[in-house]
């Protein structure tokens, strides 16, 4: 089923097909909500990592075509942490050693600006999670990567994975306090503020040094 997804040149040598996303991990996304963070329905800033699942019907290989059904999508460029050894109740100091590598991800959703309820209808559409072409297993720092996002060949966003609410090690530690990440699982470290919109007829690319170029298009 996952034949068209990248292989992993380190244990477990394959992806599991389990992909988790992290909401609100760019301080700018939270800041944009302003005072609303402390008002109902939220009443306080999030304490634990806010996660969502990209179920198996969403998974697509780089180069795939997503059926837009006439809808405009928010295109989130994200870094995926690929788990090598199970991460359970890990501490920050050792969490990164359990990774097999990192991979580019395109996390598409229907735009929404309220985060009270899990937006499964908006996040779990078929083909809305594109996995990049290669898993980089050379132990590069996941918090020091530059992602370039292009739509129809034009650069629309330049993203740094630095300066997140939780860096990769802290995120893995906090998530694994309650949820074990297993070999081949992917945890996305969060979409940056200012994610662009894409619609039918457009193609997109996400590129980073050493991670290749993820491509996709909306039909």
């Amino acid at each position: 089923m996952f034949q068209s997804f990248p292989s992993v040149a380190a244990p477990p040598f394959r992806l599991s097909g389990v992909v988790h996303g992290t909401l609100l991990n760019d301080p700018a996304v939270l800041a944009a909500l302003g005072d609303a963070v402390d008002q109902p329905p939220y009443k306080a800033a999030p304490k634990a990592p806010v996660l969502y699942l990209k179920p198996r019907n969403t998974l697509a290989a780089s180069g795939s075509l997503l059926a837009s059904e006439g809808l405009e999508f928010e295109l989130g460029a994200a870094l995926g942490l690929v788990v090598g050894r199970s991460i359970c109740h890990a501490d920050e100091a050792s969490a990164l050693q359990c990774l097999a590598g990192v991979v580019l991800m395109a996390d598409l959703c229907l735009p929404h600006n309220t985060f009270y309820r899990p937006s499964v209808r908006l996040r779990a559409r078929d083909g809305s999670c594109v996995i990049g072409p290669r898993v980089a297993t050379d132990r590069r720092d996941p918090d020091a990567l530059a992602l370039h996002l292009r739509i129809d060949g034009e650069t629309v966003q330049r993203i740094s994975t630095a300066g997140r609410v939780r860096g990769a090690a802290k995120l893995l530690a906090d998530v694994s306090e309650f949820m074990t990440l297993r070999p081949g699982d992917i945890l996305m470290t969060g979409v940056a503020a200012g994610a662009p919109r894409v619609r039918a007829g457009q193609r997109f690319e996400i590129e980073a040094d050493g991670l290749g170029c993820l491509t996709g298009a909306l039909a």
Binding site: L23, P41, L51, C88, P118, E177, F178, T180
Partner: protein, 255 residues
């Protein structure tokens, strides 16, 4: 015929009920406590419903920040949450309120995309029992119910049996109940779902393709009480099964 998946003597096996417990596909007959019970089918996407019984909505009304909307409250769970019959679930020591939720689990048997409710039941392969724990202390109002409260390791228990749809004439006519240490604490009836099974399949398949092995946890009625370390929690649905779970403390999990 009901079926289960168990681990025994170094391998995974399919099993069916037997007067003395269960019978493996190779003919061995074993007592219920001689095997390790796994979720009774190959579980795909786990789709859970919140607030899908009117009486449970009323029970929680005090703490709801906004009113119940017409759209079903849906959240997803990862595979690390899954646990089989007779398993052990960690109860964190700092939690004041951790509760069980007895739910009818609907197993999809055929891919469903844009299915109308009149055709929805054709996509159901069968049913099992779920006990979907929540730790209310960890609830936050971001993508609520958030993962730390509701997507915890080993806190979504499935089993013991997969029951084919043909053996369940009306899945909306089943009494369900939970016992804690032998005392009934929760009672309900699947006729009281806010969104029934065909509605849920129609709704879900309108935006995502459901696949064989995906499972819909249809929510729980009222009567959710705190449970403690050492408690035995039994969730039962008439004609589907009786699912046993025990709570253990942090020390048991090396914490």
């Amino acid at each position: 015929m009901k079926s289960a998946r168990v681990a025994y003597a170094g391998a995974l096996h399919d099993a069916v009920p037997h007067a003395r417990g269960l019978e493996l596909e190779d003919g061995r007959v074993l007592a219920e406590d001689a095997v390790v019970w796994l979720p009774p089918f190959d579980v795909g996407t786990v789709i859970a419903l919140g607030l899908n019984y009117a009486d449970h909505v009323k029970e929680l009304a005090k703490e709801l920040t906004v009113s119940v909307k017409d759209e079903p409250l849906v959240f997803l769970k990862g595979p690390a949450a899954l646990l089989g019959h007779r398993g052990v679930t960690r109860r964190p020591r700092d939690a004041a309120f951790m509760h069980y939720e007895c739910e009818l689990a609907v197993v999809i048997g055929a891919a469903a995309h844009n299915v109308k409710r009149a055709d929805a039941m054709q996509h159901v392969a069968g049913y099992t029992v779920c006990n979907d724990y929540a730790v209310r202390d960890y609830l936050e109002n971001w993508y609520r119910p958030n993962a730390r409260a509701k997507n915890r390791d080993g806190a979504t228990v499935l089993g013991p049996w997969f029951v084919p749809a043909a053996d369940v004439p009306d899945p909306h006519a089943l009494a369900l109940r939970t016992w804690v240490n032998g005392r009934v604490t929760q009672q309900g009836h699947t006729s009281n779902m806010v969104n029934d099974i065909p509605s849920l399949i129609e709704y879900l398949s309108s935006f995502m393709t459901l696949q064989a092995g995906d499972v819909i946890l249809t929510g729980t009625p009222d009567g959710v009480l705190n449970v403690d370390t050492g408690d035995e929690v039994v969730c039962e649905i008439d004609g589907i099964g009786r699912l046993v779970n025990t709570l253990a403390d942090d020390a048991c999990f090396g914490r």
